[in-house]
């Protein structure tokens, strides 16, 4: 298939890429740009390991055509850490055991980021509902709720400190 030139905006950087029109966003991220943080773990959009944010909405990059994302802001896990340091949610996932093998973690972090952006004070039911788009086989999810609560508290503290 003949390649076509497209322009993608990923993690606030602009990339010009020659890709096959049928190329999926996940494959472009992983193979063309070596942004291998987004993972492939299923064949049927059931696991969420490839979750990225498209204009701040959590989407599955394994079932998105890369070409369809032109003109949108794509955020991958590589764009989450802040100024070279861990974002509150990344630190909290480490501290509270939210990540074990880590393969599903980037997808979860993206989902949680979108949850935190939408709802600054999610209840456990809100968290369960939001995380149900992603699968984890290690943690049983329990420690993730603690991590999210701790990240929200840390962010609030951070904001309070700035004021």
């Amino acid at each position: 298939m003949k390649r076509e030139l497209i322009e993608l905006r990923i993690n606030s950087r602009r990339y010009e890429l020659a890709i096959e029109p049928s190329a999926l966003l996940l494959d472009v991220l992983r193979q063309e740009l070596q942004l291998t943080g987004s993972k492939r773990a299923c064949d049927d959009s059931s696991c969420g390991a490839c979750t990225v944010l498209i204009d701040d909405v959590a989407m599955l990059s394994c079932t998105l055509l890369a070409a369809s994302c032109e003109g949108q802001d794509i955020t991958t896990i590589e764009g989450v850490s802040e100024h070279g340091s861990l974002a509150a949610i990344q630190k909290a996932y480490g501290d509270w055991g939210g990540a074990q093998c880590g393969y599903c973690t980037p997808g979860f972090i993206m989902t949680v980021k979108s949850l935190m952006a939408e709802n600054s004070d999610p209840s456990e039911a809100d968290m369960r509902a939001a995380l149900s788009s992603n699968l984890c086989r290690c943690t049983g999810y329990n420690q993730m709720y603690a991590a999210i609560r701790s990240a929200i508290a840390a962010e609030r503290e951070g904001l309070a400190a700035k004021q």
């Binding site: 298939m1 992983r30 193979q31 070596q34 942004l35 291998t36 943080g37 987004s38 993972k39 492939r40 773990a41 299923c42 064949d43 049927d44 059931s46 696991c47 390991a49 991958t76 896990i77 590589e78 989450v80 850490s81 861990l86 949610i89 990344q90 630190k91 996932y93 480490g94 501290d95 509270w96 055991g97 990540a99 074990q100 093998c101 880590g102 393969y103 599903c104 973690t105 980037p106 972090i109 968290m127 369960r128 509902a129 995380l131 149900s132 992603n134 699968l135 984890c136 086989r137 290690c138 943690t139 049983g140 999810y141 329990n142 420690q143 993730m144």
Partner: protein
């Protein structure tokens, strides 16, 4: 043993947590090499067939295809067990299950490789196939492996004590058949292997092979690669990058791991093969469907007099870990409670399905489900509280069980007490509203097998430590981090022994060129065995540092304490107190200086200064390290661990499996509700107490307990591999129904520390033992809630509803294809002599395989 620890026992983030949360950590599929090619495997569409011919010429002509690998390219058998070398990486002349590996196309891209798969022409002669283990055992012809009469992989018959006498003494006896359906690991990371050959500078030909693979057992992989590729092990380097979960699925060599290397050799370029999720389901190696015929006798006082179990496992088409699985099922019947008389008959049967292997709780889980359910029934018969009957049968350690297992630390009594207390068992049991119930169950597991798969006297774990003048501690271990926290445990143990901070430790793990042999991450052996080896290696190097420091400080080595990055004289400098700010400054200046070029000069002046001051009461870690290197030369330490002979079990046939240097224990209470209209079971909460000896990293231990309970809940309620004529009906994460966050209960982990006399700082396993108790705890809770006793797992709405309708004497609906879940006699889909008649699985009209036009030409 001192219990005043500075590192172990304190929760810490895993040392690789940031790699995982930022996405920078590399898993096998994240690696690429210049000129890399993609391999795709062609799988068998038939459950049992002879390969008459394979013609790869059409595929090879496709633009972008480099080569096609077939069985003849590596016609050597292998298998994870020395007694089970029955697999080829690619089939030679027979395929034995739908999904068996036939050929591998190597191409420049995945799309081309996929297209080429359709152009490989394979001619099969379909053979009768066997799907039901009890039918398979009657087979006389068309055997799955010609050297296995009656398709029987292995059978064991053990009698300990006098079971007949035991049953004669019993006041109540229960006897029933239990069926546990098949489950699989479904680790989030699909299997993936990258293989690359280096050109040998002397011969000019391909020489050393490097393999990056998602494996729990790098050393075994190196060994099997050497067997099949007929290369010396020293020419093969296996590197285990981050692994996205194992649960046993990566604890043996999966055919693609060898195929990738064979393909790289044939294609003369690096080749990566990554399975799709569907292929992962076919590769399988999960927990076999099991029939358990169980009979248990108890006295009125609750004591168990005898147990008789007949276990039949549907092992699939290859041996895999099968011989070990069937032995574990029997051996671990004995080491949880004090059972004086046991009879065990185990049959591992071959069928035309993907091979089953090791999965979390290897061999123990299904039998434990049956046993703990039956114990509950007996408790009711003798009108005893289910928690109490378990207390009445405790072992009295230290002891040797009737089947020869040595038990030392035994936290089960405390586990039972704590779960009962936390769950409000006494106040709430039997008093919950209709449709809601509580159930209790216990389980246990080994902390590594006392006998390795390869019978030899080699240590099971070896660890090397190197410390250099920069004060950095590098620990080299073959132990495989697969997400359970093995690297972090290693760093913690080394840091605790050396009294230095965690940030000083660098762990280099699981690279056969760099790290000493460790037999892998399976049987929950790493904390106990690699932990002990780390402890010994760190103590070895500590001794050298102590000798030099003692000289500097004019004191005896025994007077020194290592803590908080300082080495001090006991009782002199109170080294537990945090260093004063000015001291800290000196320390840090020293640290930053000693690594630099001009460090030599500066250190010289520092030493001069010290000389003038006379002997000190304490030294920084760096100072002591520099002193030790000056004194001894290189500063290295090594340690290894092999289980003691007295923990290696009895002498009977099959006694090698089951013995462990230590066992973990778990007791759980599950609270469930059952929807009486739909049969849907909801687990509200599980209280899980686990005796892990000592929790080295409590947050990780809790994570392992929660994860085990959660996985047990999956097997109890939703997860099931559904088979139809050898075809897997649900090869996807959605259809397999791995529970999401919405279906997952709150799990309260309760850590019980029995401090094992031989574990590192007293630690034992914590990652597998909890799984087995969850299934019977839920089954018992369902009984408490609605009064139906399910003997077949998982307890899906259909099964629960069928059982409830039968109990209410309502008209039977055909929900479970004629199998009564409270009294199952056979597996659901394949009763009788359902034999594959050779028509081939019916494919959908739009399936590419049905296309009449030659594939690959259209676009």
């Amino acid at each position: 043993m001192s219990t005043d620890f500075s590192i172990v026992g304190k929760s810490t983030a895993m040392i690789d947590a940031a790699e995982k949360t930022t996405g920078t950590g590399k898993y096998t599929d994240d690696f690429s090499l210049p000129g890399i090619l993609v391999g795709k495997v062609l799988h068998s569409p038939y459950p049992h067939a002879r390969i008459k011919s394979i013609d790869t010429s059409r595929a090879e002509k496709l633009d972008g295809v480099i080569t096609v690998v077939v069985g003849q390219d590596a016609p050597r058998t292998y298998g994870i067990l020395p007694v089970g070398h029955d697999e080829y990486p690619l089939a030679l002349d027979r395929v034995r299950y739908v999904g068996d590996n036939v050929a591998c196309v190597v191409a420049t891209s995945e799309a081309v490789a996929e297209k080429a798969l359709e152009l490989v022409d394979v001619e099969y002669e379909v053979l009768p196939a066997y799907f039901d283990p009890e039918e398979s055992m009657k087979a006389e012809r068309d055997l799955i492996h010609d050297n296995k009469p009656n398709n029987l992989e292995k059978d064991y018959h053990h009698v300990f004590g006098d079971p007949d006498k035991g049953f004669a003494e019993a006041d109540e006896i229960a006897e029933a058949r239990f069926i546990a359906n098949e489950v699989t690991h479904a680790a989030m990371e699909p299997h993936s292997t990258l293989a690359s050959f280096e050109i040998d500078p002397h011969t000019g030909n391909p020489g050393r092979l490097t393999v990056w693979s998602a494996t729990q057992v790098p050393y075994y992989l190196q060994h099997k690669l050497s067997l099949v590729l007929e290369m010396p092990m020293a020419q093969i380097r296996v590197i285990k990058p981050l692994v996205g979960g194992g649960f046993g699925g990566k604890s043996e060599v999966i055919p693609l791991e060898i195929t990738a290397a064979v393909a790289a050799r044939k294609a003369k370029a690096p080749v990566k093969i990554t399975y799709t999720r569907e292929e992962v389901f076919w590769a399988h190696r999960g927990r076999p469907r099991t029939i358990i015929d169980l009979k248990t006798g108890v006295k009125h006082d609750g004591s168990i007099t005898a147990v008789k179990a007949r276990v039949v496992q549907d092992g699939g088409a290859y041996c895999s870990y099968g011989v070990v699985t069937i032995l574990y099922s029997g051996a671990l019947l004995g080491a949880l409670y004090d059972i004086p008389n046991i009879q065990y008959d185990g049959y591992r049967v071959l069928t035309n399905k993907p091979a089953c292997g090791a999965m979390r709780g290897h061999g123990t889980v299904n039998v434990r489900f049956a046993f703990e359910s039956q114990l509950d029934e007996l408790a009711e018969k003798i009108q005893m509280d289910p928690a109490e009957i378990r207390r009445r049968n405790l072992l009295k350690p230290p002891c040797i069980t009737v089947n020869g297992l040595r038990v030392q630390s035994y936290g089960l009594p405390e586990c039972i007490d704590k779960t009962v207390e936390r769950s409000g068992w006494r106040e709430r049991k039997g008093k919950l509203p209709k449709g809601r119930g509580l159930g209790v169950a216990c389980s246990h597991y080994v902390s590594g097998a006392a006998n390795s798969i390869i019978r030899s006297d080699m240590p099971h774990s070896t660890v090397n430590i190197k410390i250099d003048r920069d004060g950095g501690v590098v620990v080299y271990t073959g132990a495989s981090e697969i997400g359970q926290g093995s690297d972090t445990m290693t760093a913690q143990v080394a840091a605790e022994v050396l009294g230095c901070g965690l940030s000083r430790i660098r762990v280099i793990a699981a690279d056969t060129d760099l790290t000493p042999i460790d037999i892998g991450s399976y049987s929950s052996r790493v904390t106990f065995m690699a932990g002990n080896a780390t402890l010994r290696a760190a103590s070895d190097v500590k001794k050298k540092i102590a000798a030099a420091a003692a000289r500097k400080m004019n004191c005896a080595e025994e007077q020194l304490t290592f803590r908080d990055d300082r080495i001090g004289k006991q009782g002199q400098s109170a080294p537990t107190a945090p260093p004063r700010p000015e001291e800290l400054e000196v320390t840090q200046a020293g640290a930053s200086v000693s690594g630099r070029v001009e460090g030599q000069i500066l250190r010289g002046s520092l030493q001069q200064k010290r000389k003038e001051e006379g002997p000190k009461d304490w030294m920084t870690f760096e100072e002591a390290v520099v002193a030790a290197i000056d004194f001894h030369g290189a500063l290295t330490g090594t340690g290894s661990y092999a289980p003691p002979p007295e923990a290696r079990g009895g002498k009977h046939k099959g006694a090698g499996v089951g013995p462990s240097p230590a066992y973990s224990y778990s007791a759980q209470v599950a609270e469930v509700s059952v929807d009486e209209e739909t049969g849907e079971v909801t687990v509200h909460k599980v209280w899980a107490a686990h005796d892990c000896g000592r929790a080295l990293n409590p947050v990780s231990v809790e994570g392992q307990i929660i994860g085990s309970v959660w996985m047990g809940m999956g097997q109890a309620l939703t997860e099931e591999m559904v088979w139809k004529d050898g075809m897997l009906m649900n090869p996807g994460l959605l259809e397999y129904r791995s529970p999401s966050s919405v279906e997952s209960p709150e799990i309260e982990p309760i850590i019980v520390e029995s401090i094992d006399p031989e574990g590192p700082f007293g630690a034992k396993e914590c990652s597998e033992g909890s799984l087995a108790a969850t299934i019977p705890a839920i089954a018992n809770a369902i009984y408490d809630a609605v009064g139906v006793r399910l003997h077949e797992s998982p307890f899906t709405p259909e099964r629960v509803l069928a059982a409830m309708r039968a109990k209410r004497k309502e008209k039977a609906l055909n929900l479970t294809e004629g199998v009564d879940p409270t009294n199952p006699t056979r597996f659901r889909e394949h009763g009788g002599s359902l034999c594959f008649k050779g028509k081939g699985p019916q494919r959908h009209a739009l399936d590419p395989a049905c296309r009449q036009t030659p594939a690959g030409g259209a676009d």
